[in-house]
Assembly symmetry: D3
Homo-oligomer: 63 residues x 6
């Protein structure tokens, strides 16, 4: 703990690496949490598995 689960569109590893680094750092600085206790999970969905406003992502332009 803390466990962070991120639902997002697929992203390159390089971006996920940097994001996980910053989120972990935020927990350490704001909560005083040990960095080793922070786990981040990326749960990627594409436009065929996500809808907004009742419209599938693959039928609209990604945000």
């Amino acid at each position: 703990m803390p466990i962070v689960t991120i639902q997002q569109f697929p992203r390159p590893l390089e971006q996920k690496r940097e994001l996980a680094r910053r989120i972990t750092q935020a927990f350490a600085e704001v909560y005083g949490a040990e960095e080793a206790s922070v786990q981040v999970f990326f749960s990627e969905v594409d436009g065929e598995d996500w809808a907004k406003g009742g419209v599938m992502g693959c039928d609209r332009k990604p945000e």
Copy 2:
């Protein structure tokens, strides 16, 4: 918000599209929510990643 996450067996896009449309409409009609605020995530698992009654889906007949 609201965020809807659906754990299910894989389904064709056409069915997910229709389901997302109806769920979103239900939020709009029952809650008075703005359609654009409703997001639906499909998290599909196959029979090798799901068990019921202690038996893997791939070892039984799907519901």
Copy 3:
């Protein structure tokens, strides 16, 4: 399966009852799923446990 988890602001029971009924019906009609196999979980958060655009819900007007 399917399992539906809804992250939302608190709502009256009456609205959740109607929403669960409609969502379940949608699975039955669109997927041909047995109604008894559909479970819906409401995970309610208030404005002190949710942020959008980096602003806590309690610091802005709810959607």
Copy 4:
């Protein structure tokens, strides 16, 4: 209900089968739950979708 979701590294089917069997049995014995009511979902991530201590799994040795 109960619904069990497991976030883990990929594992062979044989291990997941045995784990699901034991977890289901634990619910039956400890809670007195009907085995048929227990569902287990395996949500597998690889080292490119998980970080601990701000370091991606693919950049460190798996636990």
Copy 5:
């Protein structure tokens, strides 16, 4: 990792304690995982936040 999230009706601490112990032991024995790496989260819902077959738990008898 592994992270186990259990959606269930409220249960006494004593039962959750025993269940967490057994689940953790199962991971250790079946996966060869270190016990310290296993985290279990109980997410309890009552009958006003859960429906099965389109019927809220509070409107039916709990399983």
Copy 6:
């Protein structure tokens, strides 16, 4: 999207506010995401609903 769900021990509002702000900023800077598209959910558990290494949080010292 992206949707961020954080499982953690209870924290004061002030800390959650600051954490949400930083996480949202990280998505904007690293992904180029619109801040308004980032939602953060805090799912707080106490020591009676969480175990590590098979030991409930209330039976050990919190991390």
